[in-house]
Symmetry: C2
Subunit: 404 residues, 2 copies
């Protein structure tokens, strides 16, 4: 048999932009059990509703096994889509029919499908910088030109959005945002800023893509309406997921949109991509979501545990990090964002040393679009015990202090 | 709130090639319970191993619930990848390490990922015509130029492949084939032709993408080695799936490849597309696949039932179709391919009339690349009882006879 070499295959040009990250390789070394990792975006597995899933799996496989095991329609399981129609109205004020909700393989697939139907090479996408890495990868995999806009303490700066929309020669295809407990910074957009951003986008007929995986993990403050539910809104798409409120391993998310033509094309693209999201897993998550009181109680419990972990992390940072270190104070979600005192600090190098000290995080640079914040890093507080948070931040603080 | 219209969004140029099909709309009308449908590619739900899945689901959710519910690595569940390494060697002679097997959301996603990492707009892909519709959609969604090559009774014509490789100004990115019980024709490639095709591809350094969802559904004859396992083989990728041997609703497939660089890029693309295939569903299918004797018995049972259904369909066609009608005689799989006597017959129009006579099929034209066979149609024999096959072919035969 021939032993073909890598030279023999010519890859698509998009692969030049879609590279495996160096960080991923370093983080693999931090998967050992003695490493305290604040790197992943993992929910706490000890809070998975395992017994409730066990009951649901039994019920579904005895009562609706054909539905669970056979092919289903590309759009998704109808009862789940109907339930989501009500849920999106109740939780974020979006008025959307079940017929405009597409079930996806996690919300990551929603990002991929939006990019697939909207982006030609060179098309511009506007994002808040720093931005969710998976979204950047999805957009870059279709060779988009991603333009980053900075934020202030209320969220994406409206003046920069106006400026970008005036300055760009071709209109951007869409604006991508996480308004609630953003990944990676943990910050949220103020109510007033949501109105401003929605109004500017509507005036420019700019499609707003709002990604909301963390919105229900709210520790303080009231819920905010989605950008598409502000008093003045243009076309929107809204992505959600069961990954952070039930379990990520089932891979069930959704994308809803105000735009009938966009919806239809997302369905066509999904059909060419993977035919449909799993029939069994859609039924499994529906069985849990549809238990209203149980769901509220379950989410309240997640919030309670994560809130305490956030508090312990904030206290630990306060006592361990050197003067001049800044960090965000998220009122929900999974992450916070730390900026080290010296602008010349390279958190990628720091990660290499941290790994040998049994503590891990994600350096800030890969999240940045445009200006690179090399002295920033992202910390996850949902997937470590309070004790490990104290211990891990002590290790990290010692390392940072020894270098400043 | 504004009411945006469809005019406001500019879609990517690939969407012009990625259209929802007219057939899909007609087929929706044939989903009523009184319609006998030979249209879908559905396995028989009464043969789903429901009880075995029930036991497996219980075991997994009690013994490995964290693994089943938490995020996993993009490449897939390691025990499943290791099992597949052995399985591919035993069943089709492919020597591939677990590290070169990527678990996908059904084999449809494998096609999408291959297209994503290999195809720039205008790149040429060679296929056998008629070809699997989902593959054509996947390739067209990356704006490939798909070139169809005709077959004879042994499979894809080797002389046409040689001709195409000499005539094309740019080398094609890959050759796509289903060698076993092809969708839509049901025919298989002879052993000699497999050797010829593999040898030609190797000589031209042409990547061979072999899709093998039906290979285990073998009613007669011995198993054949994969194209990548022939004595002279160049670079290859091989796709498989649990959809036809266990259950399609779980959406677990795989792509394996001889090419380390290709594998690495498939993983990177998968990460940007949906992060990973479901953790729970991968464990579920592994639990069943890993029961060797049970699996062989289960597949033998599927083959026994489907073989009888194929026989009934062949007998019914013999007694019901007018003289001059031709059809294939598959030795496995789910489908057969009928060519009506008159070349001017349009099976899309026939489908509209068939739907009002409570019988459905898929017209041949959409499967065709280049020359359109408008008088051909695809029949599925796995998802109807013997009685319904007799009844449905009687309806179809009456309709065809009334028109000839």
């Amino acid at each position: 048999m021939n032993a073909p070499t890598d030279k023999e295959i010519v890859f698509a040009s998009r692969m030049a932009q879609l590279r495996p990250s160096a960080i991923r390789e370093i983080l693999k070394t931090t998967e050992a059990p003695d490493v305290i990792s604040f790197a992943g975006g993992l929910p706490a597995p000890e809070l998975f509703p395992t017994e409730t899933f066990q009951v649901a799996a039994r019920t579904i496989l005895s009562g609706d096994s054909t539905g669970a095991l056979q092919y289903g329609v590309t759009e998704g399981y109808t009862p789940l889509r109907e339930w989501l129609s009500g849920y999106l109205n109740e939780t974020v004020g979006l008025r959307v029919k079940a017929g405009s909700v597409l079930i996806t393989q996690g919300s990551q697939q929603g990002l991929d499908l939006l990019a697939k139907v909207l982006l030609d090479p060179g098309d511009v996408v506007l994002v808040e910088t720093p931005a969710y890495l998976g979204a950047l990868q999805a957009f870059q995999s279709y060779q988009a030109k991603v333009v980053g806009l900075a934020s202030d303490e209320e969220g994406l700066r409206a003046d920069l959005l106006e400026q970008a929309l005036s300055a760009l020669s071709a209109p951007p295809k869409f604006l991508y945002l996480i308004c609630n407990y953003q990944n990676p910074t943990g910050t949220s957009m103020s109510a007033a800023r949501r109105q401003d951003i929605a109004e500017i986008a509507a005036r420019h007929n700019l499609l707003v893509v709002e990604d909301d995986p963390y919105g229900r993990l709210r520790f303080e403050g009231g819920p905010e309406r989605a950008l598409g539910a502000q008093s003045k809104s243009g076309p929107w798409a809204y992505l959600g997921s069961t990954s952070k409120i039930l379990a990520p391993g089932l891979r069930v998310g959704w994308v809803a949109t105000s735009h009938a033509g966009l919806f239809e094309r997302l369905v066509t693209a999904k059909q060419a991509t993977d035919l449909q999201t799993g029939s069994f897993t859609q039924r499994l998550v529906f069985a849990l979501l549809n238990r209203g009181e149980w769901l509220d109680q379950h989410i309240a419990n997640l919030c309670e545990v994560y809130r305490k972990r956030r508090d312990v992390m904030l206290q630990s940072l306060e006592s361990q990090m050197p003067e001049g270190t800044h960090w965000t104070r998220p009122s929900g979600g999974l992450f916070l964002w730390v900026t080290l005192p010296r602008e010349t600090t390279d958190t990628l190098s720091l990660l290499r040393r941290a790994a040998s000290h049994q503590v891990a995080f994600v350096p800030g640079a890969p999240f940045c679009v445009g200006q690179i914040l090399s002295n920033a890093l992202r910390l996850n507080f949902s997937n470590a015990s309070e004790e490990n948070i104290r211990k891990g931040i002590r290790r990290l603080g010692g390392l940072v202090r020894s270098e400043s």
